[in-house]
């Protein structure tokens, strides 16, 4: 497999639960987009259909596509819908229940009905072998081969498809896990295998086990899916390599994704952040918050100094919670690099309720696409955020530009009966309240990635996209005193564009666990270099021959702490490496937590290397084709008690000029409506982005 030559046609396919978005990029940077309904029986069918349509409209042959970049929720859905493989788990004797026990924390307080996710491997399929290592990797008890045989005998009866092997302290020494794997391979050659010492060689047994088990659970599903996709694309005559978006925002070969599917779990949301980061570079905005609000959730992520922020663990499959970020255990824990995205249950379809103390809530439950908001008239009966937006006049009253017919009066009545009356407010006041609480929901996601990480949101620009982001972003920005909001071209398929912006990327981590003051500079540099070589080999086997950029970092903490901060190691060859790390760590600790502890010993816990095959430099900005502007019109829209209802111009994007025009304005487009509130101004930049200046 070889990487695309500069100048070929490139295809991005972002498969979501409802829609499959496709973007075809011409060699000169023109993008054509398609939205087709996802085919949940086999997601590859929708891709095939969309690709056919795009090829026809562009008038090119499938063979001219040089590369397909793919974001997919197949792995996520396999977990959420519990359709993964029949998966077994081999553990050290005494620990078969680790996976199910987890960290025992409650995901919600005071809730007597709560449940935890059913473990991906049932207890019957969790097996113990006799062996034991200590934390340095020394063998305390040799692996008893008879215990492996007993385990394999038991597995034979269960018809398993996939197996995870997770032994205590295997991160420090993989020898026993490899021996188990060899024995299993000999007797059960068809079984998919995931070893914790390969998937996540990192200390903390539950986190490593949960991650490895998830990898095993989705591995056969991903394998089958990718095979089906390849078969269909072959039938079109398309021979281009398939690259898959990872949770960390990089892409990897389909072959690698088959081995490490746990790294593509957050494939979908990652692409939007990548797109925002690429746009940030293009417009010269180093500090950006991406705000992606669709029908069910709002997602926020920070880009700082043009860099995407990543976290090393997240949970999947828990109920979307508006509760504390500290209450974990609602989902499956994955310790794998992912773009740090905060998600709250607030989207256009979020249900609006008033509790018996008279407090107003938006979400986290959603009406989804079915039955949808009341104003869609598809059977929805509970008022939603979208109904409030229709009642306020923010959305068109008869039909959306995408063609969806609206029953505005029904939405308005739902707001009146369910919200305004119980709160003794006018319909306008009630709807506006719902709108503001919806804004507060996004603000909570934004806070989680800014204020709660020691960052002041006022230093950032918002990039707003998704079906509802452009409608709420400016008002939300005002609540956090953020002065500038950017709404990109084609905000509704913006995430699919992000697929075309991603680099090939591999994140490797290894536990080191030594005190900094007892590490020689040379040792540290050597270990990091070895990890970098491993990454280089990986990209070579994937067929990438371009220049590789590697960055090194260490996870460090004061000895005794349990949470690490990641500190970049810019130059392995420089002298005084340890001293530089100590200083950088102290500074980062002070920035994050307000103090440092000079003189306290520092522990280096993990070594990290990110290897990146950058996209060709000088690639042109992507320009989505845009529709003609809407005709000039006015809508009555309500903006709070002080301003009341205002006659608001409804315009198309390209009716805006480079000079700022005062709000209120409503900008209707095919896939989203942008609201420029009163006291704000909007203009168009040279790239066609709407720039809203927010009066704070």
């Amino acid at each position: 497999m070889s990487r695309v030559e500069p100048g070929g046609w490139r295809l991005g396919a972002d498969v979501g639960g409802t829609f499959t978005d496709l973007v075809l990029l011409s060699p000169d940077g023109r993008a054509t987009t398609r939205k087709v309904l996802s085919t949940t029986a086999n997601y590859a069918d929708a891709i095939l259909q969309g690709v056919r349509e795009l090829l026809a409209s562009a008038g090119i042959a499938a063979g001219e596509i040089a590369e397909l970049i793919h974001g997919t929720t197949v792995a996520t859905n396999a977990i959420l819908e519990r359709r993964g493989a029949r998966t077994g788990l081999v553990t050290t004797e005494g620990f078969r229940d680790l996976l199910e026990i987890g960290r025992i924390r409650l995901s919600r307080l005071y809730d007597m009905d709560q449940q935890r996710p059913v473990p991906l491997v049932r207890r019957r399929w969790r097996f113990e072998v006799e062996e034991r290592l200590d934390h340095k990797g020394n063998i305390l008890r040799p692996l008893d081969p008879r215990s492996i045989d007993r385990v394999i005998d038991a597995m034979l009866a269960e018809d398993l498809e996939s197996l995870a092997v997770c032994l205590v302290h295997a991160y420090a020494n993989p020898v026993h896990e490899r021996a188990v794997a060899a024995a299993v391979r000999a007797r059960l050659p068809g079984l998919h295998l995931s070893l914790s010492s390969e998937v996540l060689p990192e200390i903390r047994e539950f986190e490593r086990t949960s991650t490895t088990v998830t990898n095993a659970y989705v591995m056969p599903v991903i394998g089958q899916y990718l095979s089906a996709l390849e078969t269909r694309l072959d039938s079109l005559g398309m021979t281009a390599p398939i690259l898959i978006m990872q949770s960390n925002g990089g892409v990897m070969s389909a072959r690698r994704a088959r081995q490490r599917p746990v790294q593509i779990i957050e494939s979908g949301p990652a692409a939007g952040v990548i797109a925002a980061a690429a746009l940030a570079r293009r417009v010269g905005a180093p500090n950006v918050i991406s705000v992606d609000m669709g029908g069910t959730t709002a997602k926020a992520s920070v880009i700082e100094d043009y860099e995407i922020k990543r976290s090393n663990e997240f949970e999947i499959g828990g109920p979307i919670s508006q509760g504390s970020r500290l209450n974990k255990g609602g989902g499956y824990l994955l310790r794998t690099p992912a773009i740090d995205i905060a998600e709250v249950g607030a989207g256009g379809g979020s249900l609006v309720t008033v509790d018996d103390a008279g407090a107003l809530h938006v979400g986290p439950q959603s009406a989804g696409a079915v039955p949808g908001p009341v104003c869609y008239d598809l059977g929805g009966a509970v008022a939603t955020l979208t109904d409030a937006n229709v009642a306020l006049g923010y959305l068109a009253q008869d039909r959306l530009p995408s063609g969806l017919v609206l029953a505005a009066e029904k939405g308005r009545r739902a707001i009146e009966e369910q919200i305004a009356r119980p709160l003794r407010l006018s319909i306008d006041e009630a709807a506006h309240g719902v709108y503001l609480v919806g804004c507060a929901g996004i603000a909570r996601a934004v806070r989680a990635v800014t204020i709660e990480r020691g960052r002041d949101p006022r230093d950032f620009t918002i990039i707003a996209f998704g079906g509802n982001g452009p409608l709420l972003a400016a008002e939300m920005a005002r609540s956090l005193e953020i002065g500038s909001v950017l709404v990109p071209l084609a905000p509704g398929v913006f995430s699919a564009l992000g697929l075309l912006e991603a680099d090939v990327e591999h994140h490797l981590v290894r536990t080191f666990n030594r005190p900094l003051d007892r590490v020689a500079d040379g040792d540290l540099a050597r270990e990091l270099a070895a990890l970098a070589n491993q990454a280089r080999d990986l990209t070579l086997t994937e067929g990438h021959r371009q220049q590789l950029a590697t960055t090194s970092a260490v996870d460090a903490r004061y000895a005794g702490q349990s949470f690490e901060l990641t500190v970049p190691v810019p130059d392995l060859d420089a002298g005084g490496l340890a001293a530089a790390i100590a200083e950088d760590f102290g500074r980062e600790h002070e920035r994050t937590y307000g103090h440092r502890a000079p003189g306290d010993p520092i522990q280096i816990v993990n070594l990290r290397v990110i290897a990146r095959v950058p996209q060709g430099t000088g690639r042109q900005a992507i320009r989505p084709a845009t529709e003609p502007t809407a005709g000039q019109a006015q809508r009555l829209a309500y903006f709070g008690a002080r301003l009341g209802q205002l006659s608001t111009p409804v315009i198309g994007r390209f009716d805006l000029a480079k000079s700022a025009r005062p709000g209120p304005l409503l900008i209707d487009e095919y896939d989203a409506t942008t609201l420029v509130p009163p006291d704000c101004t909007a203009r168009l930049d040279a790239l066609g982005n709407i720039i809203i200046a927010v009066e704070t």
Binding site: I101, R103, R122, I203, R204, S324, L326, G358, L436, G560
Partner: protein, 581 residues
């Protein structure tokens, strides 16, 4: 958004979210910078904000059993320092007889000033790894007076107008076994206070002090209103329940905890009359802790997501006579009062189950057990390992209790085994379920957990606080009790069954196994869906024999399939027998 013109419910929702986010930020700062296991992994800590009058206006969603105690700590600091509080001050206390609940819990409180005026308080509670005294870990049961339990800190200034009070730091440093960890954790608490201070000031600035104060009043009222509505919906009457602690570790006798809950209109009174007099052993629960248990349990029956402030305490009254185990007086020892707090919660839930039988679970298992290993390594460096073990939830009116979950009146994590082994001279040899330990029921209780430790240093001290060897977690509505807890020294070798509470010298390669009790079941086990029983058997949580005996479900030993006729016969016989009685 121009909040000045939004209607009140919206503004309140915004301020409420903002306050919740601030206490979360405080907790994250604390956990991330803490040194001791018990804070950083188990999260045995709480963060809160109070207004200028010391009212609790926001409480982190971490540890409900701490929540109700913060107003009492605030009250003592304000009473002692009154108008003498100045910008840059920070206060500390741990004395259970002046605002605290037991010595390991350090309360660190920072007044927040805006334009020279007191605007509120940032408060933290952190369970410190050690406070000196006779038992490493500060949690022993065998002290009989407070003076044996370690360093007592009355409300004192830790910082005086921005400058550390060296004398206080020096006293702490000199009186604990592991000063680096304890002072590191004090710094972590200070970090959290500073984070809270900064964010609170920003919030006040944003809405203006007058409007912010009005919001606080309204949020306190909102919580009170939700609580009163919930209580009013409960049937008036008196509901009592009695549970027991096996013993106090000194005297052999069982110890009753009795509570009578009276619902009168929109008021709820929890009266502990009938509970034991204070005991010699260190399990006496100071009044603020007892009150916290009441508040935490009652909150489970208040719907509607009330703001996390003290407003919902207002309609609740707690009666506990001085000199009893739920309101001890000097010089009672209190280090292990956690046990009594959990048992009080069990009793309160038992009474609440009579008020809301369709909602409340059977008895959970968790929190009773605290384990510490302490000593010195070959180079005479001290180590203290402390952890609390949690088991599972009781059966519920609609579903089984969760296997392996924190008690619902706290929210603890367990400790990563690999981290424990990397940091302490311990090997953890087993952590898993105990088959056939669940309280049988239509909806069964959670299975018990077992954890086994091997001690790797030459010598040291093992101290265990446990219970439920005699008085078991109760079932409800015909559900059965779970199995008893067990303390076993050197299983398989020179085995010794240990009492529920003990302190013991251990040597290299001594092994200690603790099995928690199983949680209680809900409803008649013979009404349990046979398919659920068969699944538990397939999973190895319940044996074929127990399925037959406890649930009246006959299974094919080889295939695990339900033998329907046998099952029907078993269950019909049981029904006839029970009717005959």
């Amino acid at each position: 958004m121009d909040a000045r013109e939004v209607s009140d419910p919206i503004l309140l929702e915004l301020v409420k979210h903002a306050l919740d986010a601030i206490v979360d930020e405080m907790a994250i700062a604390l956990v991330r910078t803490a040194y001791s296991n018990n804070l950083k992994n188990s999260m045995d800590m709480s963060c809160a904000l109070c207004d200028a009058e010391g009212r609790l206006i926001a409480q982190g969603m971490t540890l409900p059993l701490h929540l109700g105690s913060i107003p009492d700590a605030m009250r003592h600091v304000r009473r002692k320092f009154g108008d003498g509080v100045r910008p840059g001050d920070v206060f500390i206390l741990n004395d259970p007889y002046e605002g605290g609940t037991h010595l390991p819990d350090f309360y660190i409180l920072k007044p927040v000033y805006r334009a020279g005026m007191l605007a509120g308080w940032a408060a933290t509670v952190g369970h410190q790894l050690d406070v000196g005294g006779m038992t490493p870990g500060g949690n022993g049961c065998d002290a009989t007076e407070i003076f044996q339990e370690g360093l007592r800190i009355p409300p004192l200034r830790l910082y005086d107008r921005g400058r550390p009070v060296d004398a206080v730091f020096a006293f702490i440093e000199r009186n604990v076994r592991v000063p680096r960890q304890v002072l590191g954790d004090v710094r972590a608490q200070l970090s959290a206070c500073s984070a809270g201070e900064k964010a609170l000031l920003h919030l006040i600035e944003k809405y203006g002090p007058e409007r912010f104060a009005a919001c606080l009043d309204a949020l306190l009222d909102q919580a009170e209103r939700l609580a009163r509505n919930a209580i009013r919906a409960m049937p008036d009457g008196r509901y009592d329940f009695e549970d027991w602690i096996d013993d106090d570790g000194i005297d052999p006798g069982e110890i009753p905890i009795k509570v009578t809950i009276t619902i009168a209109g929109d008021r709820l009174i929890a009266d502990f009359t009938g509970s034991a007099p204070q005991v010699k052993g260190a399990i006496n629960s100071p009044l603020p802790f007892t009150k916290s248990a009441v508040y935490a349990c009652v909150r489970h029956l208040i719907g509607g997501n009330p703001p996390n402030n003290e407003g919902y305490f207002r309609p609740i009254e707690v009666i506990a006579a001085p000199g009893t185990i739920v309101n001890p007086v000097m010089p009672a020892a209190v280090a292990a009062r956690g046990l009594t707090g959990f048992r009080a919660a069990n009793a309160i839930f038992g009474a609440l189950a009579k008020i809301a039988p369709d909602r409340v679970f059977a008895c959970e298992m968790g929190g009773d057990t605290g384990i510490s290993f302490g000593g010195y390594d070959a180079e005479r460096r001290p180590f203290v390992f402390l952890e609390f073990l949690f088991g599972s939830w009781g059966g519920r009116p609609t579903r089984d209790g969760m296997d392996a979950a924190s008690s619902s009146v706290v929210n603890f994590s367990n400790n990563p085994i690999e981290i424990v082994e990397a940091e302490y001279p311990l090997l953890i040899e087993r952590y898993g379920y105990v088959p056939d330990s669940e309280g049988a029921g239509k909806f069964r209780g959670g299975s018990a957990l077992v954890r086994q430790y091997r001690f790797l240093e030459a010598e040291g001290t093992l101290q265990v606080r446990a219970d439920r060897q005699k008085h078991l977690p109760y079932g409800l509505r015909g559900g059965r009790s779970g199995t008893p807890s067990m303390n076993i020294l050197n299983p398989g070798g020179a085995t010794r069954q240990m009492p529920s509470k003990f302190r013991h010298s251990v040597r290299r390669d001594d092994v200690f196994r603790h099995a928690l009790a199983g949680a209680g079941g809900w409803g008649n086990p013979f009404d349990r869906d046979p398919a659920l029983v068969a699944f538990d058997v397939a999973e190895g949580k319940v044996s074929v024999e127990r399925a037959r005996r406890a649930y009246g479900v006959a299974l094919d030993v080889a295939t695990g399939e339900i033998l329907t006729e046998d099952t029907n016969r078993l269950r019909q016989t049981a029904r006839r027998v029970s009717r005959g009685q």
